[in-house]
């Protein structure tokens, strides 16, 4: 069964300008794989920045700001995907980034433990319904859950989620997180 939270926009079939990175299931400990999140996020940020040349001072500032935002958002999305990915499913993690006229959109897909889905969905409902400023102050001092809130609060990203059975293996539940950053 598919469940959508927020204004989820399906990934475009015609693709356009985009990049996709996939991480196969592996037995390498998470400690070692963690570094890939930062490397991949910085790679995506560098890639985006070439489409926004920093010709003058204002453009250079805009380029730096966008690069920093992409790096932060992509890193948080990948960290979450790695944290919540359901190891027994042997499902890959993927991140796709699309460049559009007015936004950079990210789609990160990972498997999720079916038993953990309900509490994640409750957290999502809070993110979508509650005042982000109050939620930010509440989460700031908590150990978990600040990633999405900072994207919303500090970067004005719009977030949406789609829970659906995996296309490759219908027994595996996946979640795709969409993050849309206005440019």
């Amino acid at each position: 069964m598919t469940r959508i939270f927020g204004d989820f926009i399906e990934q475009k079939d015609d693709h356009g300008e985009h990049l996709q990175i996939g991480f196969s299931p592996t037995s390498i400990p998470i400690q070692q794989r963690w570094r890939n999140n930062g490397l991949s996020a910085d790679f995506l940020a560098d890639y985006v920045s070439t489409f926004f040349p920093g010709d003058d001072r204002a453009a250079a500032e805009r380029q730096a700001e966008l690069k920093s935002a992409v790096s932060y958002v992509a890193n948080e999305l990948l960290e979450n995907a790695m944290k919540f990915s359901y190891a027994p499913s042997q499902h890959a993690i993927s991140i796709a980034m699309y460049l559009e006229a007015d936004a950079v959109s990210f789609y990160v897909t990972n498997s999720i433990d079916p038993h953990a889905a309900a509490s994640f969905q409750q957290a999502i409902e809070r993110l979508l319904a509650e005042d982000i400023d109050s939620l930010y102050m509440e989460q700031l001092t908590h150990a978990d859950g600040l990633g999405y809130v900072t994207m919303l609060h500090d970067y004005g990203v719009s977030l949406a989620w789609k829970f659906a059975p995996s296309l490759q293996d219908p027994d595996v539940l996946t979640v795709t997180t969409m993050a849309r950053l206005s440019v």
Partner: protein
């Protein structure tokens, strides 16, 4: 009590009561951040009149790192006598977006972004 890692460094200069954070903080969760939080809280526990947190060369901070700095700010808040000065740089745009949020935990926190 300095931390020297390939990707990041944390140094405490007792003479100027300054903790200098450099590099990229992308650690995984509370447990991995514990040694960094320890350097920060130990510096605060010396109860200097002013404690400077120099983040001007901190290129990246993930959300777990933001949580860690928030815990440090709350730790200092219990010592009414210590003033925190947080130094940032326009060179790293995330600092302008996220550092000001700490002032809401501790209104007396002085933020200097250059």
């Amino acid at each position: 009590m300095d931390i020297i890692h390939e990707d990041y460094q944390v140094r405490y200069d007792a003479a100027t009561a300054t903790v200098i954070c450099q590099g990229s903080f992308r650690l995984r969760g509370t447990e991995e951040y514990a040694p960094i939080l320890q350097v920060l809280t130990a510096a605060a526990d010396t109860k200097p009149a002013t404690l400077t947190l120099d983040l001007r060369t901190l290129q990246f901070l993930n959300s777990s790192g933001i949580n860690t700095l928030a815990k440090f700010v709350l730790h200092v808040r219990q010592y009414n006598a210590t003033q925190i000065v947080m130094k940032g740089s326009h060179h790293f745009p995330w600092q302008e977006k996220s550092l000001k949020n700490f002032q809401r935990l501790l209104p007396g926190l002085q933020l200097e972004i250059e």
